[in-house]
């Protein structure tokens, strides 16, 4: 079962990764098999662990999955539902019943009172089966309208790197910048900090992680980067 690529090597579409039936693949759509041969389908980083192989895409769009936490923007409203942009190939739908804690009567009430066009929200995908557009819910812990802070957009396929192994990267950024950060899997990141300057530093750090996704030793470099930026702004001595 020869694996022909190194751990963390950059691979391109069509590149032969491994040969043999006993090589395990752990991936959604980034590796494909023809007979005994495994090829990469995207530009990405190879992850090799014993006889397991995976490719983490460097470029990519967001494709919805049930239970994903996403950050959406209201783009339209109907009588009993909102249309939400979630940066996916499909627009999502948020029904009034999934947003309010009471029955909704369109005769007496107006959706605009709760979410208006342009509002941002943290939501969870509750239903999606590819034959219809995804349906969102904002019922649940940490879900709902965004009223303060800043939003940054990053390439969706680089979200896993921003989170890091068991949240190591994002927790470090949160601690160092004293910001609260919510990462939507669709590549939108919500930052709320004690001051706009703290938020600015957190955003710079997030952008740095996005730009240098494929490099090693990133967590420590970002930590040093944040401390320096905080000092520059007089937020840390």
């Amino acid at each position: 079962m020869p694996i022909l690529v190194q751990h963390r090597q950059i691979v391109v579409p069509g590149q032969l990764l491994a040969e043999g039936r006993d090589v395990e693949v752990k991936s959604q759509h980034t590796v494909y098999r023809v007979g005994d041969k495994l090829y990469s389908a995207v530009i990405g980083l190879a992850e090799v662990q014993n006889s397991r192989i995976n490719v983490i895409a460097l470029e990519g769009f967001y494709f919805p999955k049930v239970d994903d936490i996403v950050i959406g923007i209201i783009i339209d409203l109907g009588l009993t539902s909102w249309t939400v942009d979630i940066r996916a190939p499909y627009t999502a739908i948020l029904h009034a019943n999934d947003a309010l804690n009471k029955p909704f009567n369109p005769l007496k009430d107006n959706l605009r009172r709760y979410f208006d066009v342009g509002d941002l929200l943290v939501a969870k995908i509750s239903v999606f089966d590819r034959t219809r557009n995804p349906i969102l819910t904002v019922r649940g812990k940490g879900l709902g309208k965004i009223t303060k802070g800043k939003i940054v957009e990053i390439v969706p396929s680089r979200v896993p790197r921003l989170i890091g192994k068991k949240g190591s990267m994002i927790n470090m950024i949160k601690e160092e910048t004293r910001c609260q950060i919510v990462v939507g899997l669709n590549g939108r990141v919500w930052v709320v900090g004690p001051s706009p300057l703290h938020e600015e530093v957190a955003i710079l750090a997030i952008k740095k992680v996005e730009r240098e996704t494929h490099t090693t030793g990133l967590t420590d470099r970002v930590r040093a980067f944040i401390r320096e930026e905080l000092k520059k702004r007089g937020l840390m001595s």
């Binding site: 391109v12 579409p13 069509g14 032969l16 995207v42 530009i43 190939p89």
Partner: protein
């Protein structure tokens, strides 16, 4: 009509631009050249210059084009008015419509379209300067742009034309050789899988010549494939970790 005294291959066996029969034109490839597109690429082969942009997968408008089980691919091959020595009308010609179709069909076999039902992937190929081989340069630019957009695909597509000029098979023909040669055969392949995704032939080749032409094209395609892979990797190799 061939101008009087024009020799496409000289006494030393070299071509009008000084190349050997099996030599490619100088190649430049760059990925991620457009900010607004989801993926983009620039390909230059000799004097042929092509830019490609990819958008999607995204929602289809108009809605009735939607397919319930796969993504549709919309491809536009277009030559800008200043790409040729005589101004070309910007309206799509019969030729451009045909090329859009054959390029679309080539790319459809490369992309995993069945993963993204009810969406569209839009590919725009603009020829900035034409000196023969625009469809092959275009299809390479498109495949690089698709990879840059992160769309899962079986392989990159590398393509080259083989021509017959003054009775001899030559690789990667230019405008003069295309105009006054006897045959022009563009070929596009998925090189790692060894599959041909586009093959056209304008002119006449014998069966033996056809086989030789195919071998010659494969040789050129393997070289172009390397350039493509380098171009893709370069985008990331250039981003070095910053010193702190």
């Amino acid at each position: 009509m061939k101008p009087e005294g024009l020799k496409l291959i000289n006494e030393e066996g070299l071509r009008v631009d000084g190349r050997k029969p099996d030599e490619l034109r100088p190649v430049v490839m760059e990925v991620g050249v457009l900010k607004n597109a989801d993926g983009s690429a620039y390909v230059q082969q000799g004097n042929t210059k092509v830019i490609a942009a990819v958008y999607g997968p995204r929602e289809i408008h108009p809605k009735h084009l939607t397919l319930p089980d796969r993504a549709i691919l919309r491809t536009r091959y277009h030559m800008v008015p200043y790409s040729t020595d005589e101004r070309k009308s910007p309206a799509p010609t019969r030729r451009e419509i045909e090329l859009s179709k054959v390029i679309r069909e080539a790319l459809e076999s490369v992309i995993f379209v069945e993963l993204y039902p009810r969406t569209t992937i839009d590919v725009f190929i603009e020829v900035i300067q034409a000196d023969a081989g625009t469809r092959t340069a275009g299809i390479m630019a498109a495949s690089l742009a698709l990879a840059d957009a992160g769309i899962p695909m079986r392989d990159l597509v590398a393509a080259v034309a083989v021509g017959k000029v003054d009775g001899q098979l030559v690789l990667d023909i230019n405008q003069l050789e295309d105009e006054y040669g006897e045959a022009d055969m563009p070929i596009a392949m998925m090189p790692s899988l060894g599959k041909i995704v586009l093959l056209q032939l304008n002119g006449v080749l014998t069966e033996e010549e056809f086989k030789q032409a195919l071998q010659l094209a494969k040789k050129g395609i393997m070289k172009l494939y390397e350039y493509e892979q380098q171009a893709l990797r370069k985008k990331y190799v250039e981003i070095k970790p910053e010193e702190v």
